[in-house]
């Protein structure tokens, strides 16, 4: 969390940190990257944005640019071609950043394990905070995964406060 300007009074820094955390938990911006998926997971992610599921009511917004995003939602196994791109997208995101791997493929390579152009799951390339298994996971499961991730951040915040 180095982007708070140095030299500020300690109380200010703490307040700014608190503000940032609060907004991140209540309105995370997400970016979606497909590194070799069959599309099944992608359409379910898109479905979470549409009226029946509507994640925007939780403040979750799908964003176009990695530089604006807090959460990277990955689908599919990582192919050799997409590996560097995935790394690059991850590196472009500002800290702190979180990664959610959606689908069996993103978790382990799934049905594509052993194909010559597949590296494996997302965690082979970048660190992952939450895995959502399923082929594809239902939109409810995806929302549940995101909410669980946010919940774990909330706990961390509480721990920071009391600790």
């Amino acid at each position: 969390m180095s982007d708070v300007p140095a030299g500020l009074p300690k109380a200010w820094t703490k307040m700014l940190e608190g503000l940032k955390n609060w907004s991140r938990i209540y309105s995370p911006w997400a970016i979606h990257f497909n590194s070799g998926s069959c599309n099944g997971c992608d359409i379910e992610i898109l479905a979470t944005l549409t009226p029946r599921y509507d994640v925007e009511r939780f403040g979750i917004k799908l964003q176009g640019s990695p530089r604006h995003a807090d959460v990277l939602i990955c689908t599919g196994p990582v192919t050799l071609q997409a590996r560097d791109r995935l790394k690059r997208v991850y590196d472009q995101m500002p800290d702190p950043k979180f990664v959610i791997a959606v689908g069996s493929c993103a978790t382990s390579g799934g049905v594509f394990q052993g194909c010559y152009n597949v590296v494996g799951g997302i965690d082979q390339v970048i660190p992952v905070n939450a895995f959502i298994p399923g082929c594809p996971p239902r939109p409810e499961a995806i929302i549940d995964g995101v909410v669980k991730l946010l919940g774990s951040l909330q706990q961390k915040k509480v721990a920071e406060k009391t600790g």
């Binding site: 069959c38 990695p66 594509f112 052993g114 239902r138």
Partner: protein, 391 residues
């Protein structure tokens, strides 16, 4: 091209881009706002499925190939099953064939509605996007109650299907279709009458019949340019001979015509599903399938939502496929984007691209285009001559 003072830029798009749901890389050369040339590079989702299928046995390959594309998963598993069954000399019982066909048409509904939404979103008409995705949940519910999964139903087994269609499901299908038909009439009205929407679609990306034929377009794209080409009629499979569909064509060849063709196809699909549900043949769901398939080779074709889907399957008499070659419809339609983009405004490109209903996950396999004997009008882009290590 205009005077020497105008600078030219190359606008790269992708592989990660908000307008693209899947990774691909495009380069558009623009002169001011006008596109003067375009090229595309695929391969980000190339997973090596064809080779992967050779390392799995006949049944395992079915589940792998179903995941070529999540949107038309049932089309892939059906075309593979039909081919392998023909090789093995096995025929799925009539009830299984009817259920396969019902699922194919349900899948067409879900795929076309998904497309209506995405294309409307590209046109800046998010209301239609939300409407069509909300209504699409009806068909997703039907698919889920039928097979237990919303996408990748894995309803096929070699020799038949897994899931039966009971009276309760038949009722839910029929009432779901009633609702959908009502909504489809509404969409029809929107795409034909909404002035701002017509501004984005009428006369955009127009392809004449001749161009469509030359560029090798396929599926609803070529039907919107006035060519009556549909494998369900030209080479009937499953029960399409007994429960036929009417080929929908339009003559304008622009984006609006593609909207109209796709939505009208949905009326045909609902009619076809109704007929099948009401006259579902009695009998077994599956027959026994041998572990080894006798040596031979076959070509299997069906009409997927995006056009003709083609599989070549070869067996050497063993437990694994010897070779599976997949040719998906999206790949054939890409040439029309690359050629059709030239001369359009850059802002129209997302619409032209989504007009073919592109699906990159099924695109990413090797094509080797021979240049000899072809005129230069459809010069293949560099990516078309990639070498495949699996071939």
């Amino acid at each position: 091209m205009t005077g020497p003072h105008v600078e030219k830029f190359i606008v790269p798009i992708g592989p990660q881009h908000p307008a693209l749901k899947e990774p691909a890389h495009f380069e558009f050369t623009v002169d001011g706002e006008t596109v003067t040339s375009a090229s595309v590079r695929f391969g980000y989702v190339h997973r090596g499925l064809e080779k992967g299928a050779e390392n799995r046995n006949w049944a395992q390959a079915l589940y792998l190939l179903e995941r070529v594309c999540g949107i038309c998963s049932h089309a892939h598993s059906t075309v593979y099953s039909l081919g392998v069954e023909r090789l093995a000399g096995v025929t799925a019982p009539p009830r299984a064939q009817a259920i396969r066909q019902i699922l194919l048409e349900l899948e067409r509904i879900h795929s076309h509605m998904l497309w209506v939404g995405v294309a409307a979103h590209e046109a800046g008409f998010d209301t239609l996007f939300m409407y069509s995705w909300r209504d699409r949940e009806t068909v997703m519910d039907i698919l889920e109650s039928f097979t237990g999964n919303r996408v990748n139903y894995s309803a096929n087994v070699l020799g038949g299907v897994k899931y039966d269609l009971g009276p309760a499901q038949a009722d839910s299908i029929l009432s779901g279709l009633d609702y959908l038909e009502k909504r489809l009439h509404y969409y029809m009205k929107v795409v034909n009458n909404d002035e701002s929407f017509l501004g984005r679609t009428r006369g955009v990306g127009t392809m004449t019949t001749e161009e469509a034929e030359n560029l090798g377009a396929i599926g609803p794209v070529v039907r919107a340019s006035g060519v009556s080409r549909d494998l369900r009629v030209d080479a009937p499979y499953l029960l399409y001979a007994d429960f036929p569909i009417n080929v929908i064509t339009a003559t304008a060849g622009d984006l609006q015509a593609r909207f109209v063709v796709r939505i009208q196809e949905l009326f045909e699909s609902t009619r076809n599903i109704r007929a099948l549900v009401e006259h579902l043949p009695e009998g077994e769901l599956a027959v026994r399938f041998p572990r080894k398939v006798r040596a031979g080779e076959t070509v299997s074709r069906i009409e997927a939502p995006r056009g003709g889907l083609f599989y070549f399957i070869k067996s050497d008499g063993g437990e694994n496929p010897f070779r599976v070659k997949v040719r998906t419809p999206s790949l054939r339609n890409f040439m029309s984007v690359i050629v059709g983009a030239v001369g359009h405004q850059l802002a129209d490109i997302p619409m032209i691209l989504s007009g073919i209903d592109p699906c990159f996950s099924c695109n990413d396999r090797t094509v080797i285009v021979r240049r000899e004997g072809r005129d230069g009008s459809a010069a293949p882009s560099e990516s078309d001559s990639r070498k495949d290590s699996s071939s």
